[in-house]
């Protein structure tokens, strides 16, 4: 077989090797961290809101883990600016799959959605809707 992969298309690998908005923001409105305990994927999302307190202005991520989790976080930092917190909270797994542009095998979905989950939990903590210290994906191997 030549160099080709269903899941590891160029876009995923590009975002993994050259992550966008990687690092920390100087003054984020909120920050949140999460992990997949079974994979060891960890992601911290820093989110800066516009003056309206609702529109996402800038996003950065840090952490490490597999290509799927890190590429998904990188792409999300480009996708989120301009959207509102309520739009963020409405994002589901299909939206992430669409953003990644590849079929994610069932066992890897938790890697793909970690960054989204961290951003959503961070937003909910910011709004006072939930109180958790860290996001953890539920399943383990």
């Amino acid at each position: 077989m030549g160099i080709g992969s269903d899941m590891y298309r160029q876009q995923i690998l590009d975002h993994y090797k050259n992550p966008r908005n990687h690092g920390r923001l100087d003054s984020p409105t909120f920050s949140h961290t999460g992990e997949n305990p079974s994979c060891g994927d960890t992601i911290t999302m820093d989110v800066q809101l516009a003056d309206d307190g609702e529109t996402i202005e800038r996003v950065a991520f840090s952490g490490d883990g597999c290509a799927i989790s890190q590429a998904s976080a990188s792409m999300l930092t480009q996708r989120l600016p301009g959207t509102t917190l309520s739009e963020l909270n409405e994002m589901d797994t299909d939206d992430i799959t669409e953003m990644l542009g590849v079929d994610i095998s069932p066992m890897r979905v938790k890697c793909a959605v970690l960054a989204r989950q961290v951003a959503q939990d961070g937003a909910k903590i910011h709004d006072g809707e939930i109180e958790i210290e860290q996001t953890k994906t539920e399943d383990d191997d």
Binding site: M1, I3, S5, D6, M7, Y8, L13, Y16, K17, S38, C39, G40, D41, G65, C66, A67, I68, S105, P106, R108, C111, D141
Partner: protein
């Protein structure tokens, strides 16, 4: 590679007993079984997690359900007698397989190794351990043992100690001597590490435990399926293993215990089948091993377990061991050719039939996904040894593990799959 390989076992004949090895993979997984979109031949290297099941074992289960399915122990009727004899005899078969001269009285069936561990931890540990006592484990324990004793120790206030591993992934036996002292009541050690492949000197550890009056529990999940085991030569007080890692069905495992210890031990589960006489006020227990098997047991699985042992004994456990060692050494040597691969555990000529490693720059889960696209089934993750992975400084690793039907060609397929990962991630 030469056209015809010579192996310690007849791989061709063995493979024909395992229909699953003929299937292709790679298509949609939402409905089980092989479909038209599965086009990649399967290379199954995840045997330390579970082995496949030969026709002979499946046949024994079909014969039971089609021919003499019935509840055991209590029935007077014909089918119940047949089922009872087969199920009870299966205990003797398991006892014989591990050299337990006490027969069925020394072998209780459990769901798996984990349940066997919990049985001793709850039935013995919770009753016998006190705050001044210690339980000695190793840094390479599977969570089945580590978490179980950790939590029981918390309940009773006992201390848990961990025997260190050295750079090669072997136990530091000097450290073991320091840790196993007069406070020690239980030494619980894995026979072969499911992550490092290390074969531990369990007989020496048994001597050390017995010198201070402690028991030793040997976790045989990776050893009983892959080599001859004699619990009396080891002098293990307890030994546990699972059927599904040795050609048997899931849902069945065995707890071996020395007869006098099991006799003294209280039951872990209560209910039907494990009692002799019950009044509104009290109850007395059935003989060994039945007092440890409450409720309707896994009858078909127990019979299948015995059939799996028959299957392996026909091949010969010495031959199984030789085949495991051949593939482990071959895989170790092939993976050692590359500077970008870190292998965990002892050298290739001194390990069980598995190799855990990491490929530089590629997360274990990504590597597993890429290998899966080549049809190569390996395991990626922490292999239920998270504290060990913390110590190794790796969040996860990739593990290839071998069994009687694997070939060097399949190891080569793994090695070739690594090249694809390297190219993608370059």
């Amino acid at each position: 590679m030469e056209a015809k390989e010579s192996y310690p076992v007849n791989v061709g004949a063995i493979r024909s007993d395992f229909p699953i090895l003929e299937r292709n993979v790679g298509g949609d997984t939402s409905t089980p079984g092989e479909h038209d979109d599965d086009t990649t031949p399967l290379v199954y290297l995840d045997n330390a997690a579970t082995s496949h099941t030969p026709k002979q074992v499946v046949d024994s289960i079909v014969e039971y359900y089609h021919g003499y399915n019935s509840n055991v122990h209590r029935g007077i009727h014909h089918l119940s007698q047949e089922a009872s004899i087969a199920y009870e005899d299966a205990h003797d078969r398991v006892a014989e397989f591990i050299g337990a001269s006490g027969g069925r009285e020394e072998v209780a069936f459990t769901k798996n190794t984990t349940e066997a561990m919990n049985t001793v931890a709850y039935a013995w540990g919770l009753n016998e351990l006190s705050p001044d006592d210690s339980v000695v484990l190793t840094e390479m324990e599977h969570h089945a043992s580590l978490v179980t004793w950790q939590q029981i120790a918390k309940k009773v206030g006992a201390e848990v100690r961990y025997i260190r591993i050295d750079e090669d992934g072997r136990l530091d036996m000097e450290h073991a001597k320091e840790l196993i002292d007069d406070s020690t009541k239980m030494v619980s050690v894995v026979h072969i590490s499911n992550t490092l492949g290390t074969i531990n000197p369990v007989s020496d550890l048994a001597d050390m435990a017995h010198d201070v009056g402690a028991y030793i529990f040997v976790d045989g999940a990776q050893s009983a399926p892959t080599r001859p085991v004699d619990v009396e030569t080891i002098d293990a007080d307890f030994f546990a293993f699972s059927g599904h890692k040795m050609c048997g069905p899931t849902g069945i495992g065995a707890l071996y215990g020395k007869r006098d210890i099991l006799d003294e031990m209280q039951p872990y589960h209560y209910g039907g089948s494990m009692i002799r006489r019950v009044t509104f006020d009290d109850a007395t227990w059935e003989d060994l091993p039945w007092k440890f098997e409450a409720g309707t047991p896994p009858i078909a699985q127990g019979i299948g377990f015995a059939a799996a042992i028959d299957y392996l004994d026909d091949i010969g456990m010495e031959n199984v061991q030789a085949h495991e060692e051949l593939l482990a050494e071959y895989a170790y040597d092939r993976l050692s050719e590359f500077d970008d691969i870190e292998i965990y555990g002892p050298p290739g000529d001194d390990r069980g039939g598995l190799v855990s490693f990491n490929l530089d720059g590629v997360h274990a889960h990504d590597l597993s996904s890429i290998l899966n696209e080549q049809g190569v089934a390996i395991r990626a993750g922490d292999h239920c040894t998270q504290p060990l992975h913390d110590k190794l400084g790796a969040a996860a690793s990739t593990r290839a593990s071998f069994y009687i039907y694997n070939t060097k060609d399949e190891v080569d397929a793994l090695v070739e799959g690594l090249d694809i990962a390297r190219e993608l991630f370059a």
